[in-house]
């Protein structure tokens, strides 16, 4: 807790001022402020993108062939920034005129905290849920969004290389973790061709996150298909949350560098916030793999109120990245590297418009549209053409919340989605999918202590599969402080485009071409959970046991094509059974100390249930089944301790523990990980006011436990996660 200027006086005599507000010509004043800011941003952008010698915005690996200039983003950023800043001059805040009349009592207000803004309390939620708020995000010291997810019990976080992070709930994945739904403000960000999420590339700044809600367990009924094992729902800060400007700088070892500028303004009927950032690092170890990255991002969120019932939330984001690629450990004696060092160019952007119509009787309509796109260009010179793809997703959705008396609340809605992937090296022709979903969710309160959540989703996945995903949960408050939850649900994961339509049969080695029809994977999940509040002791406990049965698990199915070439297709070949225990204990003592302890114990069993095309490969499948228990770490957990040392000085430390685990497509298992991160932060000035800010120092893997990340790089080469440290300074302007 930061010190609060507590103006507790025995008697506050508030002065009487007759006449107008002391601020004259507020518009002129704000206009000049804004112009000054504009010129400040001008300088920041110039430094970041143009000044090669400053070291902040250099193109990565200048010796490597660069196909894109680093300056390509400037005109776009500039135009956009100028448009926003000048638009902001229009909607300025000003004092209301009359303060002494009775109008304060009769004024009509807009519905601000409408149904979709109110979060469900954990004790009444239909699934186990981990909420990571801003305080925890800051205390963790994480630079990347994906690292925060280590604070979720049962979550695996790994790096295929320094610039390919991924997260997967309940392990058993490869780098394209595709059994979780990932949403940012309701927008799905997993990628249609391969599933998974490119965490580094999403236009999302860690500082813009309000909270992360992780639903542990299937939630198709409320969050759509592909929430097979869980949902990561990232909620970003409202447009109104930033008023003013700030700048932040980070510098650390291993090339860690970041500059972030923020600008925001809340006005009469228009708010906006804008974040510009440029971050880079050298990845793990440039001597072994070329996995540095540089990413420039822009995020804008604005909210416009049409009237007291209607508002429009408008968001857009743009991310422009250069990634190092290539593996120096894979040297081909015949002629150089099999994966030569090179650069990959990625561009991701999105646009989202949410129209909210909220009535004071509790009814709420939400109509939203978004578009995400991503382009990827790997300048690898070995195949016929440059490797690259272009993905687009458009989705239109409607959601209606209708309260039916005090004891029942119904939410229903529908979505249509159009996905396209133009990836000539993976698919013979551009692919397109049209997905349709309709869902309904009802929350019934039978008595103050008994609540039922019933929901279902119907989906047409555009590949010929139509499925119902139902869910039913009972929450029973034994006392108001102690809740028992029991639930069962069923959900599906549709095959990703790659599994169904990949065709790389032009390749001589390991071509993919699917010839069998692949059905969606299906999960049946059961759980019993307990939530307890021990207010006197400052303790809260969230625990559950679960059993998830996944059937029709999609797996590689090799066959011999004309040629004869051994070709890889996919088929529903396995069944997996996950069982386990998960718990989160939170302990707060005094005003200044806070501890979060997460623990997960998991077990997985597999069985071969499908028929392989080639009998010769059955032993391989069986070997996988036999090794299956290693696909999840038996025990894993994390501890986050936050201690306010003085009103201005905060210390926090995180401990992350993960036992041996085998990632699906890694060559070797990943051994025990024990990692300690620490952060010390000093705040200065009056919180939120110009001239205030903080300075923090973060050490990751402080005790240099040389644990290895999941990687296809031979561990013998000494590929470990080294200690990292960085210094961050933030100043409000």
């Amino acid at each position: 807790m930061v010190a609060v200027a507590q103006l507790v006086e025995s008697r506050i005599v508030i002065p009487v001022v007759v006449g107008s507000s002391p601020i004259s010509h507020p518009k002129l004043k704000r206009a000049s402020d804004t112009l000054a800011l504009f010129s400040w941003f001008h300088r920041i952008i110039a430094r970041t993108y143009l000044n090669e010698t400053s070291g902040m915005g250099r193109c990565l690996h200048k010796k490597a062939k660069t196909i894109f200039g680093c300056e390509s983003m400037i005109p776009f950023l500039y135009r956009l920034l100028a448009a926003i800043i000048y638009a902001s001059l229009l909607g300025q805040p000003s004092w209301a005129i009359d303060a002494s009349g009775e109008q304060s009592y009769f004024e009509e207000f807009p519905v601000v905290l409408s149904a979709s803004r109110l979060k469900q309390p954990q004790s009444e939620a239909p699934s186990a849920m981990t909420v990571i708020d801003r305080e925890m995000i800051v205390a963790s010291g994480a630079r990347n969004v994906v690292d925060i997810l280590r604070l979720v019990p049962g979550m695996y976080v790994g790096y295929d290389s320094g610039n390919v992070p991924f997260a997967s709930y309940h392990g058993a994945t490869d780098q394209y973790a595709r059994r979780m739904q990932v949403l940012i403000d309701g927008r799905t960000v997993y990628l249609p061709p391969v599933g998974g999420v490119d965490w580094l590339d999403i236009p999302l700044h860690i500082g813009d996150i309000e909270r992360i809600e992780v639903i542990r367990g299937p939630a198709a009924a409320s969050h759509g298909a592909n929430s097979l094992q869980g949902v990561i729902s990232i909620i970003t800060r409202d447009a109104v949350s930033m008023n003013g400007a700030s700048v932040a700088l980070t510098q650390g070892n291993g090339g860690i560098s970041e500059v972030t500028g923020r600008l925001g303004q809340s006005g009469d009927d228009l708010d906006y916030r804008l974040t510009l950032s440029n971050r880079s690092d050298h990845g793990y170890d440039l001597k072994i793999i070329n996995d540095g990255s540089r990413t420039s991002q822009l995020n804008l969120r604005s909210n416009y109120r049409l009237n007291s019932q209607d508002s429009i939330d408008f968001q857009l984001g743009y991310s422009d990245g250069i990634r190092g690629a290539g593996n120096m450990a894979r040297f081909n004696p015949a002629g150089g590297f099999t994966e030569p060092p090179r650069e990959i160019k990625t561009v991701s952007d999105y646009l989202q418009i949410d129209w909210l119509h909220a009535l004071s009787d509790g009814n709420e309509f939400k109509l939203n549209y978004y578009h995400i796109s991503r382009s990827y260009l790997d300048n690898m010179p070995v195949v016929i053409d440059k490797q690259g793809y272009q993905i687009h997703r458009h989705e239109l959705g409607l959601q209606h919340t209708l309260p039916q008396g005090e004891h029942n609340r119904l939410v229903w809605g529908a979505n249509v989605r159009h996905d396209t992937a133009d990836d000539p090296l993976t698919f013979r022709s551009p692919q397109a999918l049209n997905v349709f979903q309709v869902f309904v969710h009802d929350e019934m309160r039978f008595s103050p202590s008994l609540l039922a959540n019933l929901g279902a989703m119907y989906e047409d996945d555009g590949m010929g599969h139509r499925n119902w995903s139902p869910r039913a949960t009972l929450n029973y408050h034994v006392t108001p402080e102690h809740t028992i939850r029991a639930g069962a649900s069923m959900a599906y994961r549709s095959p990703v485009m790659f599994e169904q339509y990949a065709d790389t049969s032009y390749l001589v080695s390991r071509p993919f071409k699917n010839v069998r029809s692949v059905n969606p994977e299906k999960i049946v999940s059961k759980e019993i959970g307990y939530l307890g509040e021990f207010k006197e002791a400052g303790i809260s406990l969230d625990a559950r046991i679960y059993q998830d049965r996944i059937s029709d698990y999609i797996f590689l199915d090799p066959y011999v094509a004309a040629g004869p070439v051994l070709t890889f297709g996919f088929a529903n070949l396995l069944a997996e059974s996950h069982e386990g225990f998960e718990s989160t204990l939170k302990f707060r003592w005094g005003e200044r100390s806070n501890l979060v302890f997460n623990y997960a114990h998991q077990r997985v069993n597999c069985a071969a249930t499908g028929i392989m095309t080639l009998a010769a490969f059955i032993p391989r499948l069986q070997a996988y089944v036999n090794q299956c228990s290693l696909l999840v770490p038996a025990d894993s957990g994390s501890i986050l301790l936050t201690q306010q040392l003085t009103p201005r000085l905060q210390f926090s430390t995180g401990y992350y523990h993960q036992e041996k685990v085998q990632v699906l497509d890694a060559q070797w298992p990943q051994n025990l990980m024990r990692r300690v991160d620490m952060r010390m932060a000093y705040t200065f000035g009056h919180q939120g006011e110009p001239g205030s800010g903080d300075i923090s120092f973060v050490v990751q893997n402080a005790f240099q436990d040389n644990y290895t990340e999941y990687s296809n790089v031979p561990q013998k080469a000494g590929f470990v996660f080294n200690r990292r440290f960085y210094l961050n300074a933030t100043l409000e302007l």
């Binding site: 601000v112 109110l118 309390p121 109104v240």
Partner: protein, 274 residues
Amino acid sequence: MTLLLGDSSAPYQAFTETLRQRLPASIRLSVREPNGSVGASDLVVAVGMKAAESAASDPRSPILAVMVPKSGYDSLFLGQKMPQGISAIYLDQPWERQVDFLYAVLPDVERVGLLYSPETRLEISPLLNSVANHGGSVVAQSVQSAERLFSSLERVLSGSDVLLAIPDSRIYNATSIRNILLTSYRHEVPLIGLSQGYVNAGALAAIFTLPEQIAEQTAKQIVAFEQRRGLAAPSYPEHFTISLNNQVARSLEIRLPSESDIRKRMRNTGGAER
């Protein structure tokens, strides 16, 4: 009897309608807008501040100002000599009642947050005393300008268990309410509002008196005036309405007592209807 209306909007219409119903047929009401001369009358009932100001400018008749905030009434009439007599039925709740209500809704509150602007004209020592009587303290934060609202909010919210709205439209208005509610919700600090409008917007609860309730009290005073030919001392409204936002309470994991329990608790601490 002259009824001087400050406005023709819904609250004033509701007041007039109820007053007509409650008054005996023998009393004749002449309804006027507060511009031009008021003229002599047995009694001028001025509804709202605008009407009260207009009535004060022509003090030939006794004046009963109703639906006026106490601070507004005091600034107009305090220390003024009104030959024909003057009284009021305030619109706002006495601080004690407001605080008793707050503690009936949220018994565990220790720190009551308060935002005020330099122009706020409120005597808040009764508030500080009432909160102290319940074992709490007031965390007051001044808001220097609309641009500073954000940082003032952050500061007051990080040190408060509840935010108590005051009738200051420089701080609480249709524009700023969004920022205030979203920020306080983020801090998980509930807002106690001043009207049904606040509760609709997202405040946890509010205690207020409806124009209809003021009208009933006004009718009684008019009848008493007719009988005794005199005005009682200015008073706060006798009756009040309680509004609760169960959705917000649930989301903040606050267990709200029922309205009847709240009224019972308020009676026990002495702040209930007299």
